[in-house]
Symmetry: C2
Subunit: 566 residues, 2 copies
């Protein structure tokens, strides 16, 4: 199998560099962009000034390291495996233990689509508390914690920018539940990253086939592609055929944490019949996926029977797939949601692999009209209760948020989340700030995402231009990721994240110097910025077609600054 249609050339003008850990034997990957010098001719004299390289947070994994030969059939290097090799709180299982996983393994008709380089899963020894949260609470700075501290500081060490982000701060935030490092011990291919309001804003991408769409190759391609453009985590929302096998391919080749919504697969196992869903099927699905290496599960445990009636007051009812499924189940059975009643059992399973829980907002508003209504906030209070239960099990927690919210109602979402959910990291979908722009909902939502991220939301889930209309293709994924990188970075600047402005300043200086290549190389999408310029460019580099030579403000301004102002 090969990656479809993707040119995974390294980023232009860039090289992969690694920074060594000081506590642990780790190498933290980042991208170094080298810049050309500034050249000025003043009074006939040619002056040359070097420009320092810029280090960029890099989510692309080994694919952009020219010294590593990646092979999608073998999966990525299992780097994190060695970090835990000597730990005595983990055990190596003989093989997978879920019923479903074993049935798929035994089914030879699946051989042609199977990822063959599988490894037997690991698990916590009985009684051992192995999660990043458990270790942080014990005062241990894990390799993952040191990794993310170095990673968050990109330019700061090099440029002497003072940063509050230290391995000890990371440990404290994880211990307090204010940050999460999704790092299933069975996904050692993943490079550690942190989700918390004191750190860089992260973005999640969604991929996944539906019953009507795409195959394994296409989904793996989308996964790699979304990391290439800057996705920090990846949710596989597949609902079609061969979910188990598709997921194996994705996880083995994914350098970022992978999340899922296990109820989707559970529902497939009962042929889409909500009535037939059971805790036992769901439980087996959790084990199946945890052993594959899923790093976080979205679980709609806050959807309660008592709240189902409230949807009558809404314009668009329930728009969360998981939320609608669990609501229907509670109504059909007239029983409480089994995800809620079994939440302690769920936490026990998650704690054994260090799978984080992302508490799903089944009642997120699906339109401006329904924003901040009673059903939404009642569920949020339930998520707060569940957070405390999860933390008792040392399970790391994210809280999912909306959705569709007009700008003036965004602040209330953030404030209530912080108070109801004890400062667990907030992870929102947008929010979309208007309903009237299908085809452009990456933009309607980036407006809301930038705002809520500035207010403290730790991770924003991207929306592509195809939202509400169709499944995204590769170009939609690219547009969605870049749009959300913009929202996340705008929030990092507004929050005063140490070092965030280094890249903006380098870009602006390159712009003022007419160093076009440096501008492209520093941009979020070097290929596109270069293409737009080149297509219309004619000759002289000292201006562009926007204004032409006589009206280039920066050219005039430079001439004023260099020669005229006393």
């Amino acid at each position: 199998m090969e990656i479809n249609d993707i040119d995974l050339q390294s980023y232009p003008g860039s090289e992969k560099v690694y920074v060594d850990g000081k506590i642990h034997n780790i190498k933290v990957a980042m991208r170094k962009v080298s810049l050309t010098p500034t050249v000025k001719i003043i009074n006939g004299e040619r002056l040359v000034y070097e420009n320092a390289p810029v280090y960029i947070y890099d989510t692309s994994g080994p694919y952009t390291d020219s010294s590593i030969n990646t092979d999608i059939n073998k999966g990525l290097p299992r780097t994190r495996e060695s970090w835990t090799a000597e730990r005595d709180d983990l055990e190596q299982l003989d093989g997978i233990t879920s019923d479903y996983g074993r049935r798929r393994e035994a089914d030879t008709s699946l051989d042609s689509i199977r990822f063959t380089h599988r490894h037997a899963p690991r698990k916590a020894r009985k009684g051992a508390a192995i999660t990043q949260m458990a270790l942080a609470r014990k005062g241990i700075i894990t390799p993952e914690m040191e990794y993310v501290a170095i990673r968050e500081n990109m330019n700061n060490d090099m440029l002497g920018i003072k940063s509050h982000i230290t391995p000890e701060l990371v440990r404290e935030e994880i211990a307090a539940g204010r940050a999460v490092i999704p790092a299933n011990i069975n996904h050692p291919e993943s490079e550690p990253m942190i989700i918390g309001s004191k750190f860089l804003v992260k973005l999640n991408t969604n991929i996944g086939n539906s019953a009507l769409s795409s195959g394994i190759e296409e989904e793996v391609s989308k996964a790699v592609w979304s990391c290439y453009w800057g996705g920090d985590t990846l949710m596989d929302l597949s609902t079609g055929e061969n979910i188990h096998e598709t997921r194996e391919w994705i996880i083995r080749n994914c350098p970022v944490p992978v999340g899922t919504v296990p109820v989707y697969q559970a529902l497939e196992k009962v042929n889409g019949d909500v009535n037939a869903l059971t805790w036992e099927i769901y439980r087996d699905t959790l084990i199946e996926q945890a052993e594959q290496g899923v790093d976080y599960f979205t679980i709609h445990a806050g959807v309660l029977r008592a709240h189902a009636d409230l949807i009558q007051e809404r314009l668009t009812g329930i728009v969360s797939r998981g939320g609608s499924i669990m609501t229907q189940w509670t109504v059909l059975h007239n029983e409480e949601n089994f995800l809620y009643t079994h939440f302690e059992d769920i936490c026990e399973i998650l704690a054994s692999y260090d799978v984080a829980v992302s508490l799903g907002d089944g009642m997120r508003p699906g339109c401006i009209h329904d924003a901040n209504d009673k059903s939404q906030f009642l569920e949020l209070d339930v998520l707060g209760e569940l957070t405390e239960i999860a933390w008792r099990h040392n399970v790391q927690v994210l809280i999912e948020g909306p959705g569709h919210v007009p700008m003036h109602k965004i602040r209330e979402n953030m404030d209530r989340q912080l108070s109801s959910c004890h400062e667990a990291p907030f992870y929102t979908l947008g929010p979309l700030t208007t309903d009237i722009a299908p085809g452009y909902d990456h933009i309607t939502s980036a407006i809301g995402a930038a705002q809520i991220a500035w207010m403290g939301t730790a991770m924003i889930c991207y929306v592509t231009p195809k939202e509400h209309l169709a499944l995204p293709d590769l170009e939609d994924v690219r547009n969605g990721v870049i749009t959300y990188k913009i929202a996340a970075h705008a929030a990092d600047l507004a929050k005063g994240h140490p070092g965030a402005q280094v890249r903006d300043d380098a870009m602006s200086k390159a712009r003022y110097d007419f160093r076009w290549k440096d501008q492209f190389n520093l941009s979020l999408d070097p290929a596109r910025s270069r293409q737009y310029y080149v297509e219309s460019h004619k000759g002289d580099d000292r201006f562009c077609t926007m204004c032409g030579p006589n009206f280039c403000a920066m050219r005039i301004s430079q001439s004023v600054a260099d020669n005229c102002v006393k």
Copy 2:
């Protein structure tokens, strides 16, 4: 001449309707979108519910009225001419009076590119105060004021939504300088619109050739195209050849107010030699353009000699073309900016035609680093002084704003503008909230534009994906306009503009009902939303390819709501 490459079909599912004035004999154009009924099958019974039509603010002018035959060679109907036919404060001139205009008129080599259906200009009679502001101060509700009051209320009268927007409120806001109706008496083709914080947020589009680019047909096409997608005003920023003739074609065919930056043309008249610019050339340019019908002039009169030195502290100096030109002039001559010293003279000219002044922010920051610096805010104080001078002449005033500003510095821009400039309407370019995304600056800037518009900015100037890289083509104009319609509408919702949410609610209800065609027709870009859906659609209308049939949350939710919840 014909409009290039544009399919100006009417919007789908829509018709142009006209609402009669109650005070004046005027007809206010709007777009009526008819919706299909909601059909439900409950317990085998087929229930049909009608859905009320939605009225949409329509900037497209006669081009989308199937009963009007537009001909670009003749120009649009001169509707507003009849509104002033009986006024005795206006006089009809025999012909154009600017030196330059006369020279162009006499030059037969220009015959082939000339717009031939020219009308002789009109002007205020000596001593008469004819501007919308002058009339408002006298207590007169003009046809333009009634027009915009009806226009702003679209759905409210039909749906019984209480609105504070009345003709009298419009008059008060104009009289106080808090709102502007750009309406040169020589641009009677323009449909009145209002710019002020109590009204719908407006968006300006920029077009115009540069020395390196496009011809007259292309610019006229862009003008019509930008109105078709939703541009409220249009700035012609041409700097290349035949500016005079291009502008005539644009104004005669433009249903929205047209703005320019007269110094661009003045500079062309001295072959790009800033040193050779004079007040006399500039003055003649103002008269030339005012007689053609330009509705507002951007004038960089706040750029002072004393402030030029401050640009040394900046990373990207001056990025306003007009600002850089005037700064260079003040430095080369070591004199005060002639736009500042002649500002009273300028106001006298503008008042004679009711051209509004848009006070240019020559010192707007061109990068995150330079945001909210001393030179920016010193200039803003000068714009406040100039505002008072203009108002003494009954000249309507807009204040231009940045630029590049990180989110946490946006509020200060709005607060200072309000206090320094006496609540004159603010008109900002974005602001862009990060520098690192060339190729996507429509998005970096829409994030800032939505925020500052919510805070009270009355008009936002669009940015296209080509910003910083090249001149926009038609597709870029479309993307820029739609992106800014999103920002403006998100702000209207957040401000609680009466009736703004009607369209969102209609869209969301259509979404919940799976009325796809209604969704397309109600969307900002019907063609694109339809295209995305159709390309991937397969059969059943009761779900889309995003989730497939089993995982359609809204389908499940409806089934719960209709059949299960008690």
